[in-house]
Amino acid sequence: MQPAKPDLLDTANVYLPSEDIVSREIEGELILIPIVAGIGDVDDDIFSFNDVARDIWRRFDGNRSLDDIIQELAEEYEAPIDRIKADVIGWTSELLRRKMLVQR
């Protein structure tokens, strides 16, 4: 399966973590543990995030839109908004494809 095309995402949407996964922080590292089958490629997959992915993930709180998240990260990283937008949309698409995120 291919990731959803970035241009299909409406950045006004608000997302939150699916109830089918648990995110845990162990010794400073964020990991995502599937509860139900079908999230990983095999049934024993768990997921760990790099720093950028973690910063995005923490903002999926069911209140912020993707636009809000992009704006916040652009300010925090002092980076061009287009680059941040590409990161956020790419990552969000991946999470949606894996059913780790749901739209509010």
Binding site: I26, E27, G28, L32, D44, F49
Partner: protein, 374 residues
């Protein structure tokens, strides 16, 4: 996977205070296996002392708070508990991977459906005692046990639920070992040969001398010891006298909660003085204070100090405080049959002559260095 996330089936992140925890949900079992070190009858009154689901959940939450990622649910037969599904669900909802040890007899289609829908994230481990009704039922000493075991296996296979199988090698099932190994190799997740347990332990709680005598009678006549490059490498890296320290293992790094809420340093260690009551105290306190204090204990048994503490073969030997306790009732008494097995292994490796003893060898470093040419 994209650049934001790493997918892993064997995540090795930073080590937490408690990476994994074992919980014995019950000591009861519906099998009555002749070799077993822990089984109580299914209807044993011990059921009234077992932890409640609420107590188990409280411990699971404490474990997660300490960074635990994996819990092993074992027994007895853990599926005997009527609240197993509730406990399992809770563990998975906390984000724990669950390793289930079972004889599979109680794996119904409904339970297998649950494992397919909410996977444990680790293969279920199924003990196998025979490949026919006659053999399996003779080991389990329950008529019809094999049929239920096989139904359980079928239920898992039909739903593609990952499991691995383990064999207990006994005089009465040995003739079916090859059949087992051929079958195990056909299982979809068989990426390595199945485990074969040849090391029968006496009753963990020292509760049944008659059963201990039976277990001793079932212990294998030692086959020709294995000699290969892996064992030679192990010897090069790990042999040497251990000294007087009692625990040369992790002691408490992978602890086990027994069915009654007492935390033990490991699955096998039942000495009451080394357990910690989680019904009144916390897992955190055990990990931060109780177990570290145990690690500093030293051996006192004069035979241990004369032999094991000086024996350069100690790392090849299965003797440990848990094995000594179940065999002798003390934490540091040498276990003669383990000593004999170890010395046979060392002779097969060329580390010892026929009449030598490991604790009397002065030039042990040279022997290890020359292990290829011996």
């Amino acid at each position: 996977m994209n650049s934001y996330v790493m997918k892993t089936s064997r995540w090795q992140g930073p080590r937490s205070l408690l990476p994994a925890l074992d919980i014995e949900l019950t000591e009861r079992c519906q099998n009555n296996c002749c070799h077993c070190c822990i089984n109580l009858p299914e209807d044993d009154p011990a059921i009234t002392r077992e932890m409640t689901a609420l107590e188990i959940k409280r411990i699971l939450q404490q474990a997660v708070d300490l960074g635990c990622l994996q819990v092993r649910l074992t027994g007895g037969e853990p599926l005997l508990r009527h609240d197993f599904e509730d406990i399992y669900h809770y563990a998975r909802q906390l984000g724990l991977r669950v390793m289930l040890f079972t004889n599979a007899r109680l794996i119904t289609p409904s339970l297998a459906d649950l494992f397919a829908r909410v996977p444990p994230l680790l293969p279920i481990e199924v003990s196998v005692y025979g490949m026919t009704s006659a053999t399996y039922d003779a080991v389990a000493r329950i008529q019809g046990a094999f049929a239920e075991f096989w139904q359980g296996i079928e239920s898992l296979l039909q739903r593609n639920v990952q499991f691995i199988v383990k064999w207990v090698d006994l005089p009465m099932n040995r003739f079916e070992l090859e059949t087992f190994q051929r079958w195990a190799a056909t299982l979809p997740w068989a990426d390595q040969p199945p485990g074969i347990n040849r090391s029968l332990q006496l009753r963990s709680r020292r509760d049944a001398p008659d059963k201990d005598r039976l277990i001793q009678s079932l212990r294998s006549v030692q086959e020709k010891p294995l000699v290969n490059e892996d064992i030679r490498n192990f010897c090069r890296n790990f042999l040497g006298p251990p000294g007087v320290q009692l625990f040369t293992c992790g002691c408490g790094e992978k602890p086990c909660v027994d069915a009654y809420g007492r935390l033990q340093p490991c699955l096998d260690m039942r000495a009451p003085e080394l357990s910690y009551d989680l019904r009144t105290r916390s897992l955190r306190d055990a990990m931060l204070r109780f177990f570290p204090a145990l690690k500093s204990q030293t051996a006192t048994d004069p035979h241990y100090l004369e032999r094991c503490a000086r024996c350069f073969l100690k790392s090849l030997c299965e003797q440990c405080p848990a094995r000594s306790w179940s065999e002798t009732g003390s934490l540091d008494t040498p276990v003669e049959h383990l000593c004999r097995i170890t010395h046979e292994q060392a002779r097969a490796l060329g580390l010892l002559a026929e009449d030598e003893r490991g604790w009397k060898i002065i030039d042990w470093r040279n022997r290890i260095d020359n292990i290829d040419s011996l």
